[in-house]
Symmetry: C2
Subunit: 364 residues, 2 copies
């Protein structure tokens, strides 16, 4: 089948670009002695998780138990859940998971850790734990203080937990390459302080896990980090390009779309709106627009309805015509793919495989 | 089953509130001799479409052929597709649909109309058509000119099409009630001009279709409008409330969520991020925040990660605690529900039914 045989909208994955992205990250991690544990929330596709493992990943990361189950069902057997798991239902599911694969969780509360410990003891399983510290993103994670390290120490001693180390999410290390460089200095001060506090209390950490896509290729300059968990790098997206962490040639995922209306002066409408691209904003510059139109750099996706992408084409010399097919690089590929039941793997103009987004809809 | 038995995140529908919303709209339309053709893109749930029909709707509206198929499969037999249908694949699907239910399409291009006419002639079916005019939203629709009415006239004469009339989408009639009042005057000038042009060329219109949720209850004051197509009114959402078109007591849909982290000062994290709520912006005021936290009006959902809602609780006297369950009224319920495979119908604290979002994922 050819791409021209597909109806629109449809998510296309350029397999050659994707494999190059994966290989480059594997090579980089190998060269710097970093372990790579990709976050599969970007694609939620078991076949791609297994490809990442074949190309050198040491395990995978997920956000939700439902995603972990889907991945375990497909044979992935080393899964980190970077999400706080509370409540009896989730603990039961975690125990079932721990019975069949090696799994670990990120934790930022003694309460949550105690809950998992009790459940694991009862179930007769072991669950890996990593205590999350907040290095500045301000989302989850304990503050870097002596008290927090004391908490980590208590968590390390809980029954039926396998102590692995610490974890951070450097979501604040963003912006341009130059901006990240400035942020890196502060980050390293924090990572050094954390290490000192951990050493002082004798808390050994086999794993210091960090890493996101924008900063992935400078991960070796993050102090003490042993493992990274980038997700988006498999495809990249407009946010990654604007963060100077990829070029459009490195963007493996595009949305194939059709111009469905050209009745309003200065605009054309495409069949990719917020239910196809997601309304996630551009994170840099003026934060305007909902994606990059391939071959029409002067077209601005200025608004999204649920099923319409509103292209402002006033600055485009030869605007796309009714019926013309366009490709869009979304702002944020993770939330885009999460809207689709399937994506199409392509090589050149050939559609060579269809992948089900099996983890989509696994909100719990 | 009780709501307390559900794991989080989960979308809850208060059935009593929903039915009241439906009944009120039916009563309003009946009182003003308007036909009600609800847009089911809000829920994509066949059972709710059938409920809307039982409570007085004269047919339904959808955006996508896939949604139409799901609705037709469930027994809905009068479907308007308010979306331009281009390309052989879509025309084939439209013909299959027209063979089994009464269907109509909105069109703003002679080319598209001719494509449908040819396909219908070949297939031996009839497809209803309504020509879309742009009254100011600037998305789809022909401009209100003599030339456009000439185009409508030509479309009316095409073979195998059933001429129904004209259609507008007043998506620009938004803001507060007072702001809408000002916009209504301009809208009525345009609707009057359109009527004059149509009359002058002898284009009779059984249907003049308009209407969105924010302006639904002033639809009788839109000149010549015979039918409205609101979608959100079945549930309402924060955008509807901020548009003064509903109160929070009229919001039937909430996202049940749990506080999963409270480690960062001044914030708590809930398990409802952009993959649960959608990142659709608030459309009024400062356009800040990603939903309303029930019972915590001073908590601000200031940011969304994919799986985390970042609540700023600095202004909250007794902030929610780790493990506490909250309910959130999303900014935009249509894109929220579109992220979920199922929703839970509740009456008081009882979960009485589970509905599959069957049309979700039908992007084509």
């Amino acid at each position: 089948m050819k791409i021209s045989d597909l109806d629109t909208p449809a998510v296309l994955i350029d397999i050659d670009v994707m494999e190059r992205n994966l290989q480059n990250m594997s090579n980089y991690c190998a060269a710097h002695g970093l372990r790579l544990r990709p976050h599969t929330k970007t694609h939620k596709i078991p076949e791609l998780a297994r490809l990442q493992l074949r190309l050198g990943a040491s395990g995978i990361t997920v956000a939700k138990l439902g995603e972990a189950d889907v991945m375990a069902d497909s044979g992935v057997n080393d899964i980190l859940i970077v999400y706080p798991l509370l409540g009896e239902k989730k603990l039961d599911r975690l125990m079932r998971l721990a019975e069949r694969v090696r799994c670990a969780v990120a934790i930022d509360s003694l309460d949550v850790a105690q809950g998992i410990s009790r459940a694991a003891l009862t179930a007769g399983v072991t669950v890996g734990v990593r205590v999350e510290f907040d290095t500045g993103f301000g989302r989850c994670g304990l503050p870097i203080t002596e008290d927090s390290v004391e908490t980590a120490k208590r968590i390390r001693e809980l029954a039926s937990l396998r102590w692995e180390g610490v974890l951070t999410y450097p979501g604040h290390i963003m912006g341009t390459a130059a901006e990240r460089e400035i942020l890196l200095a502060t980050e390293n001060n924090r990572l050094s302080t954390l290490k000192e506090l951990l050493d002082r209390q004798g808390v050994d950490c086999e794993v210091v896990s960090g890493g996101n896509t924008p900063a992935a290729y400078i991960s070796h300059r993050f102090k003490n980090v042993t493992e990274i968990r980038p997700g988006t790098y498999i495809f990249n997206d407009k946010n990654t390009v604007c963060a100077e962490a990829a070029t459009y040639r490195d963007c493996a995922a595009t949305v194939l779309t059709t111009v469905v209306s050209a009745s309003v002066t200065g605009k054309v409408m495409v069949d990719a709106g917020s239910k196809t691209l997601s309304a996630d904003p551009l994170l840099s510059g003026l934060k305007l627009g909902y994606g990059e139109v391939v071959n029409y750099p002067d077209a601005m996706i200025e608004d999204l309805s649920e099923e319409h992408g509103h292209l402002n084409v006033r600055k485009v010399r030869n605007p796309p015509k009714l019926g013309e097919r366009l490709r869009i690089v979304p702002n944020h590929i993770c939330t885009c793919i999460n809207l689709h039941d399937r994506v199409y793997g392509c090589s050149g103009e050939d559609v060579v495989v269809q992948w089900e987004v099996k983890g989509r809809g696994e909100v719990q």
